[in-house]
């Protein structure tokens, strides 16, 4: 692991694919664990290094989903190996490739770039040190919530009673009105839940990002899609999420620890 990769100059290859940036110096060889089994090593200056493999100055592209999946998984595995080796890393997005310039090889270009960005990256590394990213997704069961609101909301109950009291055929307009009121009640409840859950999760996290909710299967909808940066070993997030899951019709999905992909950009 510590042998300097003397023959692994990036210059002839035209580019280096960058997996992550970490604190450290010297050369480190990770071996053939990169995309398509490429040899992964580090390029660095005194304070910062980048974990890379040599490639041509072309982005990785494929029509085959399996190939793309394989690459993304390999990218993640290298980031994890680097995390194990260096403790804290700034993970790159997929397909970031630094290429040769007129005056320097790709490795040289990369070193210059690390120098230029040093302050910012050191600051980011300090920010994520000792922390990991966690994903929290809160979903609810629309039908269960609709049934619950129909039973518990006074206005909705009144409207239902009114419909029942009318002769068949005359309730059509009222039904439309009820559907509209139900939708409004659900939207209100969704907002109430989302705000409540966010404010309960927020204190567990050093930082919390709201991501776009995703479509899910069946009757369920995603109310909240969160990425949180949490201090490793801290926290009663488990208790908080268990409590949230006690709410009517609500399930919680939790993933992690992740490298801090969501907290190094922007």
């Amino acid at each position: 692991m510590t042998t300097p990769p003397i023959n692994l100059t990036a210059d002839k290859a035209g580019g280096v694919y960058v997996y992550c940036v970490a604190r450290g110096d010297g050369n480190r060889l990770f071996g053939p664990i990169g995309l398509d089994g490429q040899v992964v090593y580090t390029v660095g200056n005194k304070e910062l290094l980048a974990v890379v493999h040599n490639c041509s100055a072309q982005p990785y592209q494929s029509q085959d989903p399996q190939v793309v999946h394989g690459w993304v998984v390999a990218h993640q595995n290298v980031v994890l190996a680097a995390t194990e080796a260096f403790g804290t890393v700034l993970p790159m997005a997929f397909d970031v490739i630094v290429r040769d310039s007129a005056t320097a090889g790709a490795a040289g270009t990369l070193k210059t770039w690390l120098d230029q960005k040093r302050d910012r990256y050191v600051q980011l590394l300090d920010r994520v040190a000792g922390k990991a990213e966690y994903g929290v997704q809160v979903l609810w069961d629309c039908q269960a919530i609709a049934a619950w609101l129909a039973e518990t909301d006074d206005e909705l109950r009144k409207m239902q009673d009114e419909i029942r009291s009318k002769p068949k055929g005359l309730g059509h307009l009222l039904r439309q009105k009820l559907a509209k009121a139900m939708r409004a009640a659900m939207e209100k409840q969704a907002d109430r839940f989302a705000q409540d859950f966010y404010s309960r999760i927020r204190p567990c996290m050093e930082d919390l990002r709201v991501e776009k909710p995703k479509k899910v299967d069946g009757n369920r909808q995603m109310l909240l899609n969160l990425s949180g940066l949490m201090r490793i070993g801290s926290c009663d997030l488990g208790r908080v999420l268990d409590e949230i899951e006690q709410s009517k019709g609500v399930t919680v999905r939790f993933t992690g620890p992740w490298p801090p992909y969501s907290f190094v950009g922007g």
Binding site: Q61, V73, H75, I97, K214, V216, L237, E245
Partner: protein, 90 residues
């Protein structure tokens, strides 16, 4: 080392990983950098739909990750469902 994990601790799916690796992470913006950041990768976009139920464990990643599998579908905007029928059936 690990925080106390919530009971609702699910296996990460490939979608969870693609979300992070393709859309987030550190980007570079410089003349000397080739980066597809923000540009949908051919294949990757479609593949997200296929990937929902495949857990990372099947890819040999994070094999110690835990328990139940719940699939997450590809990214779309949140839309409240058409409740006309549900409400009419009440």
């Amino acid at each position: 080392m690990q925080p106390e994990l919530p009971k609702a601790y699910h296996r990460a799916t490939l979608v969870d990983l693609l979300d992070r690796v393709l859309d987030r992470g550190l980007f570079l913006r410089a003349d000397l950098v080739i980066s597809l950041a923000g540009i949908p990768l051919i294949g990757a976009t479609l593949s997200v739909a296929l990937a929902g139920t495949q857990t990372l464990v099947q890819y040999g990643v994070l094999a110690d990750w835990d328990e139940e599998i719940r699939a997450v579908a590809p990214p779309r905007r949140r839309v409240l469902p058409d409740l006309e029928m549900d409400a009419a059936a009440l």
